[in-house]
């Protein structure tokens, strides 16, 4: 035998306590109908599995037309942000047991972005807001150093939290201001501006602050903390936005 081990793993997962859950999924396919509808699917699933595993069971064994984005399946790539039981989460980071499988589990696309098919939304406005804050290091020196630029661990720590962003849009699409007015930059773009404004190596903080001082900028934030609750990376988004607001007032960063 090559690897008897895996047979045992199989045996164990077969013996694990499967439960029956209902996935209530928001369906929309403009090739078929202009109306979005809810559709229920009954699944046998191990409660330790992910919502993404449930969606795969539907797609692979019940209805191949169900459409959603996914890739890494462990919360790193940011493809599968969805509204699950009314809250923005990554389907691959949400275990069935953690969201009350007794009741139907609702799965809908994230809000505030145009739905293209089922759980797939148009991400372009989201990435446009990201590009608008100049999300790249800008330095003014004419002669680049031959070695690395120095940065103390303390300076590096100032923007550590906002480097974790995976651009999944869970925060931006949980923001009531963004729902009501698609012009607002949204939390994710501000998080990515923060990541450079507070980087000691960067020299374009003033420019970024001016961009965010715009009428569609950081002042639109109403501090509802939805973004912080939604972030699958645990970034303190509202705090980062507050730090940008403070930097705009004090011009110190």
């Amino acid at each position: 035998m090559a690897t008897p081990v895996l047979d045992k793993v199989e045996a164990q997962s077969a013996a694990s306590p499967y439960i029956t859950v209902t996935f209530r999924v928001r369906r929309f396919n403009p090739e078929v109908s202009d109306e979005a509808t809810w559709e229920d699917f009954q699944l046998e699933i191990d409660p330790k599995e992910r919502v993404l595993d449930g969606l795969h069971k539907i797609k692979w064994d019940l209805d191949g037309t169900l459409t959603f984005r996914r890739s890494c399946a462990h919360g790193i790539c940011g493809s599968d942000a969805m509204r699950i039981n009314g809250r923005n989460r990554l389907a691959c980071k949400t275990l069935i047991k953690d969201i009350n499988p007794e009741k139907p589990i609702t799965v809908e696309p994230i809000k505030g972005l145009t739905v293209l098919k089922d759980l797939v939304v148009d991400m372009e406005p989201f990435f446009q807001a990201y590009r608008d804050v100049m999300p790249f290091l800008i330095t003014k020196e004419t002669n680049e150093p031959t070695r690395e630029r120095l940065q103390s661990p303390e300076d590096r720590a100032l923007f550590d939290d906002t480097t974790k962003c995976i651009l999944c849009a869970a925060c931006t699409s949980s923001c009531p201001v963004f729902w009501n007015d698609g012009q607002y930059f949204g939390p994710a773009a501000i998080v990515n501006a923060h990541r450079f404004i507070f980087d000691s190596r960067d020299e374009a903080g003033e420019q970024r602050l001016e961009i965010l001082n715009d009428k569609d900028g950081v002042w639109r934030c109403r501090t509802t903390f939805n973004c912080t609750d939604a972030c699958p990376r645990g970034i303190e988004v509202t705090k980062a936005i507050a730090e940008v607001k403070r930097a705009l007032i004090t011009r110190r960063f």
Partner: protein
């Protein structure tokens, strides 16, 4: 159908593709075609670091790094390529820092470095701190930094465009790249991209295994596209099994955990790696550690009621160190296993991780049509390629390095070629293969299901061509794959639409996986020795007399339309290191 014309087309927007794009966009009109949004690429899942002999924290030099790479690859590494990798590592890391990458820092403010498997001081004396890192999210930081710089340079992306075919035109008896054919996910439209240069940077193919650290989207599309057009694939039998995947799920837990002091233990609490690798212990190369884990399990010292895993023990490390250096993987343990790594050891098992083999290239990233002939205008870099810097087993932190060194080289070389070359004429009806493939799948009334065939493929790969292989198990895999390829002809899909038809693309991806699985199994059957990631229980020793050579696999189509894999071999480039017995 739409036709586009670009100087350079890059297929894939992970680390290698975007590193190439930053160079080629400055020099030539470039389009990047990617089946995902760029920041979704699997480079972002890499954790532990990127090797470079910066010597920021202790004595080190690129020659030691070269030696470790050659030894780590069990001497199947092309040594000229390994020298380039280790030398250019230093500038690659500094390039990324200048682009803004937030590396962890030493108290002096320089880039911090940590230990990693197989990286040693002075040719194996002791572990050395060579891995430049950003907590346990180095790949994420590299992917983000490269994307940021692509935005800065105005790189033109075609997101959610699947490249399904490589166009080749023979000009005066020479096969030249003419462009690619892509399928637009949003609309179902077919696009032909005529290009002077094409760079493949489309990543690996680990999804033919079940327990894998690879993303669902790593289906070998680039390898399959060139292989179907008669170009070879090199060393496909060599696949890396990373020692520490989360038990049953396969999610990667970085080797950096052991670099920070983590220890592997069996059910008796024994630090078993001391037996197998007295000097490097838990930091021996990945193939050695994965085999050791399965040896413990087979001999009855595995953990849990089924005895089917071992533990990664971090409980002796201070919680502050785990929070600062390993925040993501400790969170994975909490999220997916419900385990607190401060106090509980983490159940792990080896997980299919990385293809050492791929599209053969020379050190200029030019794709080879045979052992020596370059395909003008065709380039490859990163996991899709085989330079070969990884030989029979890649060292940890050398893949993030590979994508940066050879991604940059590919971007420069492709753009420079495009500045001098003319467009190659497109073949007649360039879209015909893709149109036929798509329509066949969309209209098929067969009775086979994609998910079922994929499950059976993954089961047979896990059971038969994983860490331990024999003639018997590989033959079982070859037969099963042949059966699945036959059944694939009757595969049908449910979604017949044009818009975001991921049902259709999963069927296409399965076809690619089946092609590559066949190449892998056939290559593995012929290599009657054990070397690096390819371990044959029936031939447990390395055989330098007969097998110190790269496998080159070609697709052969018989007069009756039947397909077979033809194997040929290519010499290994040796410069300064003679093969020695490999001990850690």
């Amino acid at each position: 159908m739409k036709i586009h014309k670009y100087d350079t087309v890059i297929v894939g927007a992970g680390g290698a593709g975007m590193r190439a794009a930053i160079e080629s966009t400055k020099r030539s009109r470039t389009a990047v075609l990617t089946k995902l949004y760029p920041t979704r690429s699997h480079t972002g899942a890499a954790q532990g670091g990127m090797a470079a002999a910066l010597a920021n924290v202790e004595e080190d030099n690129w020659e030691w790094h070269t030696f470790d790479t050659v030894k780590g690859g069990d001497y199947l590494v092309d040594q000229d390529a390994a020298e380039i990798l280790a030398k250019e590592a230093i500038d690659s890391v500094l390039d990324l820092e200048k682009m803004g990458l937030p590396f962890n820092r030493t108290p002096d403010g320089t880039i911090d470095q940590r230990r990693f498997g197989g990286h040693s001081r002075n040719h194996g004396e002791a572990p050395v701190r060579r891995s430049c890192y950003a907590a346990d999210r180095t790949g994420h930081m590299i992917l983000q930094t490269l994307y940021q710089n692509c935005v800065k340079e105005g790189v033109e992306f075609f997101n959610e465009f699947y490249v399904l075919d490589q166009l080749i035109t023979e000009v005066d008896g020479v096969k030249k790249s003419a462009g690619v054919v892509a399928y637009e996910l949003a609309t179902g439209e077919i696009h032909v991209f005529q290009a002077k240069s094409v760079i493949y940077a489309s990543g690996g193919c680990g999804k033919f295994f079940k327990v894998t650290s690879n993303a669902h989207t790593l289906t070998g599309d680039g390898q399959a596209a060139v292989y179907r057009r008669g170009l070879p694939l090199e060393d496909m039998e060599f696949f890396q099994f990373h020692p520490t995947g989360i038990w049953r799920m396969g999610i990667l837990l970085t080797e950096g955990a052991r670099g920070e002091g983590g220890i592997l233990r069996n059910k008796d609490g024994e630090r078993f790696m001391e037996k197998y690798a007295p000097v490097m212990k838990d930091l021996a190369s990945r193939d050695v550690v994965s085999r050791s884990i399965y040896t413990e399990i087979r001999e009855g010292r595995g953990c849990g009621p089924e005895g089917d895993h071992v533990y990664l023990d971090l409980t002796h490390l201070p919680p502050e160190q785990l929070d600062a250096k390993l925040p993501d993987i400790t969170e994975f343990a909490r999220t997916y296993l419900g385990i607190e790594p401060y106090t509980d050891p983490i159940p792990i098992q080896p997980t299919a991780h990385y293809a050492m083999g791929g599209i053969p290239t020379n050190v200029r990233a030019e794709v080879l049509a045979d052992n020596t002939t370059v395909v003008p205008g065709l380039y490859a870099a990163g996991e899709v390629a085989c330079v070969s810097v990884h030989g029979a087993n890649r060292l940890g932190t050398n893949s993030l390095l590979d994508i940066n060194v050879f991604g940059k080289r590919a971007g420069i070389a492709a753009a420079e070629y495009a500045s001098k070359a003319d467009f190659v004429e497109l073949p007649e009806n360039p879209e015909s293969f893709v149109v036929e493939q798509i329509e066949r799948l969309r209209t098929s009334t067969g009775n086979e299901r994609v998910a079922e065939l994929r499950r059976e493929l993954q089961d047979t790969m896990d059971a038969n061509v994983m860490v331990f292989r024999t003639e018997q198990t590989i033959k079982t895999a070859v037969e099963k794959i042949a059966e699945l390829r036959e059944r694939y002809k009757n595969v049908a899909i449910q979604d017949k639409g044009k818009r975001f038809n991921t049902d259709l693309l999963e069927a296409v991806e399965l076809g690619n996986l089946l092609d590559l699985a066949e190449v892998m199994a056939v290559s593995a059957l012929a290599r009657k020795e054990s070397r690096g990631g390819h371990y044959r229980e029936d031939y447990p020793n390395r055989d330098d007399v007969n097998f110190m050579r790269h496998t080159m696999a070609y697709r052969e189509v018989g007069a009756d339309g039947s397909e077979t894999v033809r194997l040929d071999y290519k010499p290994v480039v040796q410069t300064r290191y003679q093969p020695m017995e490999r001990k850690y």
